[in-house]
Amino acid sequence: MNKEGVILIAEDDEGHFELIKRSLQRAGVCNEILRFADGQETLDFLFVRGDGPKREHDKEYLLLLDIRMPKIDGMEVLEKVKHDPELRKIPVVMLTTTDDPRTIDRCHKLGCSVYIVKPVEYQDFAEAVRKVGLLLSVVEVPQINGMPKK
């Protein structure tokens, strides 16, 4: 992932967010990181609407997506992103406590890139995210252009 690429983290738990951010940085990931506290904020950013921060053109994005979040959950965010002809190119990494085969199945059908169950232990969680960071350092991510369909 290029240094200019932005990592989006949709995570309602602030403690989890801080841990994810720190662990990515520990893996040498120095990309800009943006946090969204729920699915609504995430969609507003990606679909360029509302008063909050908005997605920019011709930038690379990658989304780390929690499932259980207030207002709009991660499954719905994934569905909306993957049904948009432009936004669907964004790699979406599910990072969640939900370890249910039907949810795993559904997320892959919708088009998540990978699905990771958050380890319960703090150290294991940090180590898992560090390895996500190692992966991100060796993959290419596409630029997202233009405006999404309303």
Binding site: R88, P101, D105, Y115, L134, V139, V141, P142
Partner: protein
């Protein structure tokens, strides 16, 4: 990754296959690995058209896919997989020497999970695969079971 998941490698260069396998093992990836020498072989396996090697029902797969291969290339393989209702659940990681932005764009549009460029430098290639392996060796990575038969 769930230990029962099988890693499929579609790659025509035997040297690259060995390098990938060796470095996945070094990263403690313990999953079974099956290799295919071209796009036709991997499609025959996934769509269960080969009598010797057919994909089993109720097994999880993850595919490492080269682009430039004889008979059927990686683009066609990815297209066929992602058009199939059931097979589309398989995470496909592109592993290629092609480093054009337009290609990166195209493959993500088609539904690859990640696009990874093979570094020309041998040591860097090993490191890149080790990073991939470190990720795949995580207990938390879940790959879904693929049921039923792909429809030709």
């Amino acid at each position: 990754m769930n230990k029962d998941a099988v890693i499929l490698i579609a790659e025509d260069d035997p040297g690259h296959v060995e390098l990938v396998k060796k470095n996945l093992w070094r990263s403690c990836v313990e999953n079974n690995i099956l290799q295919f020498r071209n796009g036709q072989e991997i499609l025959d396996f996934l769509f269960r058209r080969d009598d010797k090697a057919k994909h089993d029902e109720s097994v999880s797969y993850l595919l490492l896919l080269d682009i430039r291969m004889p008979t059927v290339d990686g683009q066609e393989v990815l297209r066929r997989i992602k058009e199939d209702e059931e097979l589309r659940k398989i995470p496909v990681i592109i592993l290629t020497t092609t480093d054009e932005a337009v290609e990166v764009n195209r493959y993500y549009e088609m539904g690859c999970s990640f696009y990874m460029i093979k570094p020309a430098d041998y040591t860097k290639f090993m490191e890149a695969v080790e990073n991939l392996g470190a990720f795949l060796s995580l207990d938390g990575v879940r790959v879904p079971v693929v049921d039923g038969v792909g429809v030709c």
